[in-house]
């Protein structure tokens, strides 16, 4: 009897002890095979501040699972390993290639309020600049049982990042190096001068021209790029001439981990260097103009047992980044590549000067290598100290923890400019005549760019009680937390949080817990700054019941439920602060006098809203966690999130006669629901280690109230529809002929003719106009996000694969992929899918009327064809292989002689190819990445891990 009791005591102590080391697999993990490699809904884990909760919905991933991720931004790495986390990578520019991320979908009304809270080692920080090697785990806290302790900041979910710590034992040294090649993907295919010319002629004919704009001789000259044609009838392939096919990215890291009974340490140094794709760049040792990013990460995490009862942890970490680019900037270069016509001017003149014209001085050789450069340096430092004093002498199980941290971010940039001259080329029959425009000037003195800094000081203290009595396990925590973020020129952002948390478990079968948080923020009127948030949760592990305890199949069968009220005051725009005050400022001036002297006006910038408060969320979550002795596991979650008091503009209530700028009011309501599903197997079959897992996350939201005006037609209402997405018309085809036009409803956007877009009269008023706009899908936000993870290990070989799939989403397909000539741009391969019906100069009949996806080509902007509509906003479901990796580990005895435990070599690919692409052109995740900013990449790497 006593022995059983001790046995259970030990298990409970183990739970409590191990729970303070986040990420350690709990009881269930012992039963399965090679368990460390995948995320699992680790429901017994900390939810921050050393508070454990068995009843919450948390998804986690270990740092080592992310180690093969090649980009320098962690936000790109997590997706696919954890459920409920959706990220969209917006580009591939070195230093700026991160993802926008959401937890459990987009649950509120505006993107400026939808960010999750991110904590690194219990302090608010930016985790995107950390390297995967320094991470122990990343946990996604999803439901109220886990997020209620974050009070006003928890409703959008919380990302908890825990960095690696030392451990008792021999010093372990890991050295990693990898070298990769990046390749651009998702770029448009542009038509060369000949094809562009032919289609341009077609466009001109559509507008009534009777003779071709580009004559047959000119078109032939475009095709025949010899002799003078290169200069007088140029045919420039902008993508091929200016963007490299591959460019390197490399990463080298060193970690040291070890310790003894008194001190454990973890030290880390990482270097990442990423180059850009610009072919022409000055690589003078003094300066380079290619886009590039170089980052150094450093960290030291130390644990010291000062006395038997006093533990001290401290972390010091820093990141130094240097990002470079040409002076003109990324958007100017990519804009030129995407818009400049293939036949405007030759890149080089016969005498080797840069080509151009009086109105087009944007020669890319000049922009890339002779315009100067920009350099931005970031220096960030994070320091944290945490002390825990056991107070067992007062009562057993009691301890107190105090912690403080400083996170500072500094950025400094400067730029140096120079000028380049361009020359236009003409031919008088004998010689080339070059006319200069602009001037060649040397590199100037330079000027400062954005210099900024901000730092966050935070601290917390908690009184913890952790004890078990027989079958009962009790944990109670009382905590106080504050943080303050200082940004120059603005009033600091402050948060204060008082938390009480209690959890009780009986026999590891029944669990119940509750959290209360009294949370305040400086944004609100004094006296109204604090709110109360809470959650209650429970769980029942049925597999521990006597009737199931000895069964052969299931080792864990836990159902859990939670309910709570959490708040959302996350905002990333400065103009939403202190909205309870009426704010005045300068603006709307006038001019007086014959000399038109400016007289500055004073205006009410925004009238105050005395009732200004935070958004609230009532969240309910039910979940099921099953683990079997055969190594199969299943996790299911379903949630409801009722958001109310969302800040929005109250058009519905205030008419224009008010005359002022309305403040935002808390009238918005959104209803969300969704779920997560994980099914996996973790098994050793003979010599083969198998881990396979399929996951899916689903989220759906409906706007219940958003402050819009009354009396809108059904299609114009935002209420009753998802809260994200653009507004546009539905294109139902193209007018086939005059008879079709006569039989269709009139359209009110300007002139139109056969071949132009026909839109649906959604509101049924007999006219197609802007009142027929409706909600078109999200900006790439999917309702369903799925992933498949596979990991195989066999005799030293290891293979990993991750496939992700996104469904029920729409993206904006920019015109540059097809017809951008009305905008001054050029034509892409999609332009062939235009509506056309005519006989060309060679007598061929061109008839795309039945298969056209775009309206007829026109050189003038047709207001009718360029309305926001389903022509540009398209369904873009896709399935992509996100990661493929193959490695081999050498464990030969000979290695021990040089101190090596093993060497692993590997090759991997990131985003190598798409398995299913509904969009068919461009990068389906974000086609617009390369238009106006830097395109997306796929990366192939080879690497070496040395483990000493």
């Amino acid at each position: 009897m006593i022995r059983n009791k001790t046995h259970i005591h030990n298990i409970i102590y183990a739970i409590i002890l191990f729970s303070t080391i986040p990420g350690t697999s709990m009881l269930y993990a012992q039963d399965s095979g090679n368990s460390d490699l995948f995320s699992r809904l680790d429901s017994i884990c900390t939810i921050g501040y050393n508070i454990e909760s068995e009843n919450s919905s948390v998804s986690s991933v270990k740092g080592e699972q992310l180690e093969s991720h090649p980009t320098d931004n962690l936000t790109n790495a997590i997706g696919g390993f954890v459920t409920g986390y959706y990220a969209q990578q917006m580009g591939g520019e070195p230093g700026y290639d991160g993802s926008n991320f959401l937890i459990r979908g987009f649950r509120t009304l505006s993107t400026s309020n939808s960010q999750p809270l991110v904590l690194v080692d219990n302090f608010p920080a930016d985790f995107s600049i950390l390297n995967p090697e320094e991470i122990e785990t990343i946990q996604i806290l999803k439901d109220a049982a886990a997020t209620a302790i974050y009070g006003q900041r928890g409703a959008n979910g919380v990302i908890l990042v825990t960095t690696k710590r030392g451990r008792t034992g021999k010093l372990n040294i890991k050295v990693n190096g990898n070298f990769g090649l990046q390749q651009l993907q998702g770029l448009p295919t542009f038509l060369d001068s000949y094809e562009y010319g032919k289609l341009f002629n077609e466009a001109k004919f559509n507008e009534g021209a009777t003779t071709p704009f580009y004559s047959a001789e000119v078109l032939d000259a475009y095709r025949n790029q010899t002799g003078a044609n290169v200069y007088l009838y140029p045919n420039v392939d902008y993508i091929g001439q200016f963007l490299k096919t591959v460019t390197p990215i490399q990463r080298y890291t060193l970690s040291l981990q070890g310790g003894n009974d008194v001190t454990q340490y973890y030290a880390y140094l990482g270097l990442i260097s990423q180059d850009g794709f610009y072919k022409y760049s000055v690589n003078d040792p003094k300066y380079s103009t290619n886009a590039s990013s170089f980052r150094v990460n450093m960290r030291t995490n130390i644990d010291v047992k000062i006395t038997k009862t006093l533990d001290l942890k401290f972390n010091v970490a820093g990141q130094i980044t240097r990002n470079k680019s040409p002076y003109v900037g990324t958007s100017s270069i990519w804009s030129t590549i995407m818009h400049e016509l293939p036949n405007s001017y030759p890149i080089f003149t016969p005498s080797g000067n840069l080509g151009g014209t009086s109105t087009k001085q944007n020669n890319l050789v000049g922009q890339m290598s002779r315009s100067g450069y920009r350099e931005i340096n970031n220096r960030n430092v994070q320091a944290m100290a945490e002390a825990t004093q056991k107070l067992d002498f007062i009562t057993k199980g009691l301890s107190v923890t105090l912690s403080a941290a400083y996170n500072g971010y500094n950025t400094y940039g400067y730029q140096k400019q120079q000028g380049y001259a361009v020359y236009s080329v003409e031919y008088d029959g004998i010689d080339y005549i070059e006319t200069q425009y602009g001037l060649d000037t040397p590199l100037g003195e330079g000027s400062d760019m954005s210099n900024d800094m901000n730092y966050i000081v935070s601290g917390w203290g908690s009184l913890n009680y952790n004890r078990s009595f027989g079958k009962h396990a009790v944990q109670a925590v009382g905590m106080v937390y504050f943080d303050r973020q200082f940004i120059p020129r603005y009033s600091p952002y402050s948060n204060v949080n008082y938390v009480l948390s209690a959890h009780y478990g009986y026999d590891n079968r029944y669990f119940i817990g509750g959290n209360i948080s009294r949370s305040g923020n400086d944004n609100y009127e004094p006296g109204k700054q604090f709110g109360t948030f809470y959650s209650v949760s429970g769980a029942w592990d049925i597999a521990r019941e006597s009737f199931l305890k000895e069964n052969k199949i299931v080792s864990g069968l836990k159902i859990r439920a939670s309910y709570g009220l959490v708040g959302n005051n996350m905002q990333n725009s400065e103009n939403r602060r202190y909205l309870y005050q009426t704010q005045y400022g300068r603006g709307n001036g006038y001019t007086f006098g014959n000399n038109m002297t400016n007289a500055e006006g004073t205006i009410e910038i925004q009238s105050g809203n005395a009732l200004f408060t935070w958004e609230k969320a009532r969240q309910t979550n039910v979940g099921l966690d099953v683990t079997t002795r055969a190594g199969i596991y299943l996790n299911l979650d379903y949630y409801w999130d009722h958001r109310y008091d969302i800040l929005t503009s109250p058009f519905s209530e205030i008419p224009d006669i008010y005359g002022g700028n309305l403040s935002l009011v808390n009238v918005g309501i959104v209803d969300n629901q969704g779920g997560e599903f994980v099914l996996g197997i973790d098994k050793k079959i003979g010599e083969l280690n198998l881990n396979a897992e399929i996951q899916a996350s689903y989220s759906k939201n409906i706007v219940v109230e958003n402050g819009e005006v009354f009396g809108l037609d059904e299609n114009q209402k935002g209420i009753g529809k998802p809260s994200y997405g653009t507004w546009g018309l539905k294109c139902i085809g193209f007018f086939r002929d005059e008879e079709d036009i006569a039989n269709s409803k009139p359209q009110n956007f300007g002139a139109y003719a056969p071949g132009d877009a026909k839109y649906e009269d959604i509101n049924g008023d007999g006219i197609v106009d802007s009142n027929d706009a409706t909600r078109l899908g999200g900006e790439g936000i999917p309702s369903i996000f799925t992933a498949f993870n596979l990991s195989l290990g066999y005799k030293g070989f290891d293979f990993k694969m991750q496939i992700v799939g996104l469904f029920d989403r729409m993206v904006w397909l920019p015109n540059e992929f097809g017809n951008a000539i009305f905008d001054g741009g050029k034509l892409g391969s999609e332009a062939y899918k235009r509506w056309a019906y005519y006989t060309d100069t060679e007598g061929n009949l061109i008839d795309t009327r039945d298969i056209a996806e775009y309206p007829r080509l026109l050189t003038e902007k047709s207001i009718n064809n360029t309305q926001n509509s389903t022509l540009n906003v398209r369904d873009a479901n896709f399935i992509r292989i996100k990661t493929l990796e193959l490695g081999y580990t050498f464990r030969q005895a000979q290695l021990k002689k040089v101190g090596l435990q093993n060497i692993r070599v590997y090759a991997s690919a990131y985003n190598p190819f798409l398995l299913y692409d509904q969009l068919g052109i461009g990068d389906p995740e974000y086609p617009g990445a390369c238009i106006g900013s830097y395109g997306k990449t796929r990366i192939f790497t080879v690497g070496l891990n040395l483990n000493f």
Binding site: V400, F592, G593, M596, T602, I603, E604, I657, I863
Partner: protein, 388 residues
């Protein structure tokens, strides 16, 4: 020892508790409040200048509908060349409650609010004084004399002007005469009848005319003058007497209108002819503040009028506004030494632009007409044909 450490722990907790509340105080208040505005003369005056900025106009392009077409394009006199211009809503009759042209509703109410805000604050502001300042030479009050009364009168004039625009477009409108709270109950106000508002406008103009100066110096032109207030009253009374608003043809209304107009004439004559016709017709459009202007809306130097309307081919002109033949034909032609109406049937020949009413050359650019005196057709190239 136990007790000692226990006490320290409780003390630390207590300290952290109370210092936390004050953590949420705003460190510095960089928002401007109305009391701060009242204490600063620039900020206070700024409230009135901001009201001027809400005089009705189209910011996209001066006096143009939809940023390109001048209003004449909606009449028989002119034609907008771009088929996608908004003014075609007027020419095609698509103009209606859901397709509004020159929508100034929110702008005007925004301006009225600014006037009301200024009027509610000015009496509590010590920085704008009411001192009499006399010109040392003439002994008469300068334009800055009794500044507080003058500025109040300017606000009354602006408010009157804005209501005049509102009733001209919409007839009965809600009458806002205070700074409203964003309270849906209060804002649910009914429309006040046209003639009641006309009476208010007239009383505001009368009051304003008492304190506004006659003229301003060249550096402060643009402010409301006494003549402007009288003129506004006169125009409002004229519209109120017109058949659209005066269906019973009440002669009293016509008399009020005539009297008000006479007041303007008397005012001009007794003040050294403040207003008179410009001797040269063409100069009306090219001089700043020619004497025909009673009140004008001022802008920084801009070239979008030229940019939008100068014919294609002349340095980036977009040629939006173009005259119709009807307009050209309306100008008389000199036959012998008398001007007679132009007859398009018989006079349509090479000489059709000769001996025409001189105002034709100042209004319409015709073939071989001169657009800029000094050179013809641009720097190096001859002008391409200028089409009418």
């Amino acid at each position: 020892m136990k007790r000692y450490i226990f006490n320290i722990v409780i003390f630390l907790f207590g300290v952290s508790f109370c210092s936390c509340e004050s953590m949420l105080e705003k460190e510095f208040d960089d928002t401007l409040t109305i009391d701060q505005v009242k204490q600063d003369i620039d900020l206070m005056s700024g409230l009135l200048w901001a009201a001027y900025s809400d005089l009705p106009r189209n910011d996209a392009s001066f006096n143009c509908i939809g940023g390109d077409a001048m209003l004449d394009c909606a009449t028989d006199d002119g034609m907008e060349s771009s088929i996608s211009s908004e003014i075609h809503k007027m020419t095609k009759g698509a103009w209606g409650p859901t397709q509004v042209i020159d929508d100034q509703w929110s702008r005007l109410y925004s301006g009225i609010r600014k006037c009301q805000l200024f009027l509610s604050c000015i009496d509590e502001s010590p920085v704008i004084s009411n001192n009499e300042i006399l010109d040392p030479i003439t002994g008469k009050p300068t334009e800055n004399s009794n500044m507080r009364e003058r500025m109040k009168s300017e606000a009354l004039f602006l408010q009157a002007f804005m209501y005049a625009e509102l009733i001209k477009r919409y007839r009965d409108v809600p009458f806002v005469n205070s700074v409203l709270d964003p309270d849906p109950e209060v804002l649910d106000m009914p429309r006040t009848s046209y003639h009641v508002i006309v009476d208010s406008i007239v009383s505001w103009c009368d009051e304003a005319a008492l304190h506004l100066p006659n003229t301003y110096s060249s550096s402060t032109k643009g402010h409301a003058t006494r003549g402007a207030a009288l003129m506004l009253k006169s125009r409002v009374l004229l519209y109120a007497a017109s058949p659209l608003n005066n269906p019973t043809n009440d002669r009293e209304k016509w008399k009020s209108a005539a009297d008000a107009a006479m007041d303007v004439i008397t005012f001009s004559e007794t003040n050294r002819d403040v207003y008179k016709l410009n001797a040269t017709f063409a100069n009306v459009f090219s001089s700043v503040y020619d004497p025909e202007i009673i009140f004008a809306c001022q802008y920084q130097n801009r070239n979008d009028v030229e940019f939008m309307n100068v014919p294609n081919g002349f340095s980036k002109g977009n040629g939006h506004t173009n005259p119709t033949q009807d307009l050209v034909d309306a100008f008389e032609v000199k036959v012998g030494d008398k001007y007679v109406p132009y007859d398009p049937e018989t006079m349509n020949d090479d000489q059709m632009y000769q001996n025409r009413d001189p105002r034709l050359a100042a209004t319409v650019l015709y073939i071989w007409g001169v657009i800029r005196s000094g050179f013809f057709g641009g720097l190096r190239k001859r002008a391409k044909s200028v089409c009418l």
